[in-house]
Symmetry: C2
Subunit: 185 residues, 2 copies
């Protein structure tokens, strides 16, 4: 195994998910994950800060993508339309429903993971609000719209991974925004 | 100082806030807080799990009060009206704006406190959703309405503590719900 391995990250993620499923999240160590992937602990830590972060791999890139979509919404878009564009952009890249469901079950079962998820979602909402402010939306409208949009995102995601009807993620997001509108009307 | 002190809790809270302001949150120890209050560390831990919890004292009671108000909303209330009743109930008991502002600044300045706050808010949203389900509201409507209501609560609270216009908390909550309605329309 050379020091440089183009797929080290993917192998570590796969190994981690296997071990979390087989042995549970708590008992699994970074050493176990590295060994299963045929890599060193040192390599693990070049890719992830800790064993929780494996489950949030790509969250910075996802945030950039979603924030980019808010920023690029047409000038004529209302704040909620811009936020909806940001949330819908996620559906273009979150495609692996089986992985997403396994990950979601792990997060729901472990308060330390749930905590990390809450922080990521709060960060995403803040980034959305900052982007809306750049679009000329004042507070509290910017924050309120962003928080509401992130709530739609989280709920649509949970429905998507658990839904037995195999409905599309983007359809559930659109339904969520429509439902929000009718609920607060 | 007797072992039993009816106001130990209040004195510990006051001592903690003073020390957090004077020395900062991180350097302050539980021993410092107990000493300032003229009490023992043992007494501190009878009241609070750690030095973070001092800032979330009463959050369980607040949650009960708010959830109670959702449950007691008239049968004819829509889900968002029931949630709004729960959020407004908070304004009846959160009255000390000066303390609330100091607390808010501390929370914003320290990620460990921000984390704890996010967890409390997620728990409140879950409790609201469970109460709506008991009222016959299905998911995702129950979760979505609750999350949106908690977003209004958090934003109204922040505005209230920082607002230079001395506006009433309940007025800012009502404005938040009205704004949410117009933003998603």
């Amino acid at each position: 195994m050379g020091r440089w391995d183009p797929d080290a990250r993917g192998r570590l993620m796969k190994a981690a998910m296997e071990l979390y499923a087989e042995r549970g999240f708590e008992p699994t160590t970074v050493a176990d994950i590295a060994a299963r992937a045929g890599l060193t602990e040192r390599t693990f830590f070049r890719h992830f800060a800790d064993k929780r972060e494996v489950l949030f791999s790509g969250s910075a890139a996802l945030q950039e993508l979603m924030v980019g979509a808010v920023a690029m919404a047409p000038e004529s878009a209302t704040p909620i339309e811009a936020v909806a564009a940001g949330v819908e952009a996620a559906a273009g890249v979150i495609r692996d429903r089986k992985y997403s469901l396994e990950r979601q079950k792990l997060i729901e079962a472990h308060p330390v993971l749930r905590e990390r998820e809450l922080i990521k979602m709060a960060s995403l909402a803040s980034a959305f609000a900052a982007t809306l402010r750049k679009r000329g939306v004042n507070d509290p409208a910017a924050t309120l719209t962003s928080e509401a949009g992130i709530a739609v995102f989280r709920i649509a995601f949970e429905r998507w991974v658990k839904d037995s009807g195999n409905r599309e993620f983007v359809a559930l997001i659109r339904e969520g925004f429509a439902e929000l509108r009718s609920l607060v009307a």
